[in-house]
């Protein structure tokens, strides 16, 4: 019987779940899609963005990646919970929170 986090899927039976829901490996948060908690979604207006990078460190979910040439990349919507802190931090109004339609 597997005790790996990847096998603890939403259809796991009680006989197969790890005791106490204990986790027996590291880095398992990478597999958890926290993006599906989101109701509001940040959208970047590239024309307004000055690449000041204030939004990058304030993101609590590290969902604003840095590109190799030192610029902010596109939002990582797999992890972004839509908290809106980046939009508040942006001095140029380049980030807008919109309703996340799924």
């Amino acid at each position: 019987m597997s005790h790996l986090a990847k096998d603890m899927t939403p259809d796991v039976k009680w006989q197969d779940i790890t005791p106490g829901c204990n986790i027996f490996e590291g880095g398992t948060s990478q597999t958890v899609e926290t993006g599906d908690w989101r109701t509001m979604k940040p959208v970047l207006d590239a024309d307004k963005c000055r690449q000041c990078l204030l939004c990058v460190p304030v993101c609590p979910d590290m969902s604003i990646p840095m590109t190799e040439d030192g610029k902010r990349g596109e939002f990582n919507y797999f992890f972004c919970k839509g908290c809106g802190i980046c939009a508040s931090a942006c001095p140029f109004g380049a980030i807008t929170m919109v309703r996340d339609e799924k």
């Binding site: 009680w14 005791p19 106490g20 829901c21 490996e25």
Partner: protein, 392 residues
Amino acid sequence: MGIRERLSGNEAIAYAMKQINPDVMGAFPITPSTEIPQYFSAYVDNGEVDTEFIAVESEHSAMSTCIGAEAAGCRAISATSSCGLCYMTEMLYVAASDRLPITLAVSCRALSGPININNDHSDAMGVRDTGWLMLFAETNQEAYDNYLQAMRIGEAVGLPIMICQDGFITSHAIENIELVEDEKVKAFVGEYRPKHYLLNKDEPMAVGAYATPVYYMESKRQQAQAMMDAKEVIRKVGAEFGAMTGRTYGLIEEYRMEDAEEAIVIIGSSAGTAKEAVNQLRQGGKKVGLIKVRSFRPFPAEELCAALKHVKAFAVMDKDDSFNAHCGPMYAEVCAALYAAGISGPKGINYIYGLGGRDVRVESIQHVFAELEQIASTGDVGETYRYLDVRE
């Protein structure tokens, strides 16, 4: 042959702890269990054990200490009573659901208020749904014997275990006792080798994860199975202990129940008093018997049904009250067991007794049997929710 000694119940528990030499004790003193960590800390100080003794600032922290230590891969122990057990309650649930086989010695005591330091079972019964295994002792010998079996049982099913005895009545009274030799104890209890543990550098591990509604219920169902599986383990370990010492244990003890027409169901030290009452009544030709519940968790439903199904009347003795305007906790569970098994013949009543150290005398139990005899002959149960030996 074991070692003849005379020890109080608390001393006997501390001595068993010394023989087992566990890895960590987290403890905070409270009457009447204070002596257990007190005696044990002397063993630590004298170098007779190599246990890490962690003096904490509360029972909540004592149990938290045990949880951390047990998860790390250690054998962890504690001892407490009364309000101390209440204060541990939050962490008791965590210990059980994290499936950590911690061993906790409880010298049972009443709860406030009014403030009272004497024995009843309000503390232990208050935490009966925390998911811990719970064994109760009638005598100092049983407290010691139960403690020696505790880790084998808890570790086999991955659940923590409480070893309960009656505060002052057995915890402080000195009785003759037969101890098991050190090397036999070590061989019987064995080493703790958990499959997964936090200090295993080859397997990173997280304990105490958050479970969303998709996982929580499956986790609890698995925990419930461990409690069910514990019944067979308790029998097996009790039989093995019997082969070693001559003292065999099961989930319940039936005393003079063959052909009994009236019976009482009881837990703890008062069973000794009740056995004397049974003996005296038997001498007078009365067909009476007693069932002592040793394992309250898991609850011995099948065993109680088998023992009670042929009696005419029975009384369940609860040394605490549920304050539900109906009955005490053991009565509720005994009746639920009988009903579920389709046994409706025996008439059952409930006595709340011995609260806050109220003496339980042979005459008290004889009075209960007199009531049962009347119920058996008339078929009229009357009030089922009764208080024993209360002035009115």
